[in-house]
Amino acid sequence: MSAAAGWLRGLLLPLVSVLLGLLAGAVAVLLSGTSPIDAYVALFQGAFTNTNAFPETLVSAIPYVFLGLSVAVGFRAGLFNIGGAGQLFAGGICAAFAGYRLTGVPAAVHLPLALLAGMLGGFVYGAIPGLLKARFGAHEVITTIMLNYVAANLTDLLVNKGPMSDPHTGSPQTPQMLLSARLPIIVPGSRLHLGLFLAILVVPVVWFLVERTTIGFRIRAVGLNAGAARAAGISVGWTMTTVMGISGALAGLAGAVQVLGVSGVLTPSLSSGVAFDAIAVALLAGSNAYAVLPAALLFGALKSGASFMQLQTQVSADLISIVQAAVIVFVAAPLLVRWLFRLRSVPAAPVSITEGGLGQAPPREGVA
């Protein structure tokens, strides 16, 4: 098979999956008693053609880039990080703290510092389930989900009449970020902020990390065959902890960017489902860093268009979840797509990300 055909096939499956996903969503809309055409027209207007719609789509896509990369990096090590929401909160808390408490610092220092604080918070919060898996074999799917609930409670504890809450308002939020820590708006009149460039910049960095560094090699080796990696002297537990930390740092960065670029305050509704959406972004991108960009843009458009659609047609914005679920199914089940189209040429290998079940023994470590 020629290289061009292979490339085409790599693109075909995601495209087909997205179309089928939209189709599945249309069926759901139809069943709920609305015209899917009206719904999708409104969705499109809300995402692209309305005033400021496209900048708004980009604003929505920015966190998806970070979170999509976060999930994708975990996948490469065979880990399923569903803890993006928690790590996003952790990053948001740290960035917010740096953002309003650090005074008298020039923007050139303050902003990077606040972003870094967010990454650090996410790193630590992500590394915890990595460590729990390495040390005790606690499956990351369960621990990260539990940590999401813990982080949501923690955020509420801090900002809802807690130590980080703004004494001047009654609503649960931190004080406003100082201007020196805000990500500046880059399209006047819209909410589109400098985070866009940060997102575009992070993609090649993550690609390089995974594909060209020794850390990335370790991550891939562990993800592909932990036993062989261990025999070759790679510490599997340490690698798992590191990769979960990196994944968490990316999610934390998303939290920081949302606080510093969009809301200007930290509120308990910071996450609002974006972290879960990122699973679909990463799967659609096939865990490839560069492919995360278009995937994030697509989901940004869906999310951004969905609010307008809800306003116009009363169809819940939760419709996007259905579309996402369907997209994941089709991407993760090439066999299903092949069966649907009675094709023989679609790749048959099933997508395998996790090995074994929720109760596996911890990965054995060498003498430490």
């Binding site: 060209r212 020794t214 080796a221 062989a228 261990r230 025999a231 070759a232």
Partner: protein, 536 residues
Amino acid sequence: MRGGGEEGDRRYPPTQRSGVLGDAYAVDTGARDQTPVLALGLRGIVKTYGALRANDGVDLTVRWGEVHALLGENGAGKSTLMNVVYGLTRADEGQVIFDGQPVRVSSPTDAIRLGIGMVHQHFMLIPTLTVAENIVLGHETARRGLIDLRAACQAVTELAAHHGLEVDAGARVADLSVGLQQRVEILKALYRGARLLVLDEPTAVLTPPEAERLFEVVHQLTASGRAVIFITHKLGEVMAVADRITVMRRGRVVATTSPGESSPSELARLMVGRPVLLRVERGEAHPRDPVLRLEDLTVEDDRHQVAVDGVSLEVRAGEIVGVAGVEGNGQDHLVEAILGLRHARHGRVLLGSRDITRDTTRRVLIQGVGHIPADRHAAGAILDLTVADNLVLSRYDRQPFARWLIRQLTAVLEHARRVISAFDIRAESPAQPLGSLSGGNQQKVVVARELDGDPRVLVASQPTRGVDVGSIEFIHQQLVRRRDEGMAVLLVSSELDEILSLADRVAVMYRGRLVALLAGDDIESERIGLLMAGAA
């Protein structure tokens, strides 16, 4: 035993008919007729996996009452063929005729219904269940919705007694020895009324005395009219057990003969397609100072049972020390303890004068220990990475393959090209995934990687498992050459022939203990065989 006869017909599946031999467990094979019906006929079986033709038009006939050996190298297509017969794989083309009738076997259930039983190389037993549960699985009897395990135990005990294959029906399979587990497998097939029994490499896990006992059982089964297909790649066994022999090579049948009409060297030539040296050219060893020393090493398994029990051993520069033993007698744990992959409970591992007992695997490797893991797929290599990446798997982060944290891919590729040609690895490109190479070439990559690092000690665990004869010869020659250049080699192998042809000294392990250390003329097959079985 007569008492169980009538009930037996009811209890066991319908293919079990009361037979001509006046024995409830014997089989009706049509042997009374003037023209005996064949047990199994295969006509033009073809099975392809991608570009590989695993079976390329195979014909085979097996008669009732005979032991039919199916001989061939790894990858010759024996297992694929038998998986077709047992319904685990569907053939692309060809016909299966069982007991004179063309049949379609699309699942093991079909095979069982016909009276075909199979004992797989890797036992198909569920370790957490009891012997009786394993045997009745899929053919259980229930009373008022609940499973009748008492009846199952009784039936199994009776069946076992009849065939002289006694086993405790209530024991958990995980607690049985490998030999007993194989017995359970045979009983499982007989319980399902097997008239044709396929044994896939049945002696691979047995001690020589256990193998002898198995041959008796096999002859007893054929004496009762059953047919047995005996898959193996060991020539000696074929001569000892077979009535007729079919030799396969590269997916085709190359000859059908019998022990009387053939000889081991003739069979080897048929199997490999060219004359084969049955022994490696190997001169006298000139050992020097000890490099690796194990002192009273005790290691526990995952369940905290002692797996290696106070082993002391020395490997000197310029010698090959073989560790013989049936698999599962602690060899794996011994190797893991040396490599720092497992804690030693007690005792020391010394590399030269340095104590490396508590070092990490990484430290152990850096200090000059090479390791060819026993299981290539689980520990030796990463099939989804490229050949080049696999060749630096244990040195990926060191000069010249990485500078700081950045990998130097040019150096990695250059290194790969050099090693590929030096070790005659058949690969189109260093950038192709390792999984696209043949098993023999994959193993050569592992061996090349470890030897290329010039270790002071090489721990080679089952270094030729599952590879073709050509690769075996190559790997053996490499090991001997490195020995002559002064490397210390610890060779762990459950293939007695491999130990005999390579080792200068032989340590025999039995139940975690080193029961003997032999040198010179003491290295002799029968003696080691007995030691491996625990007979001192």
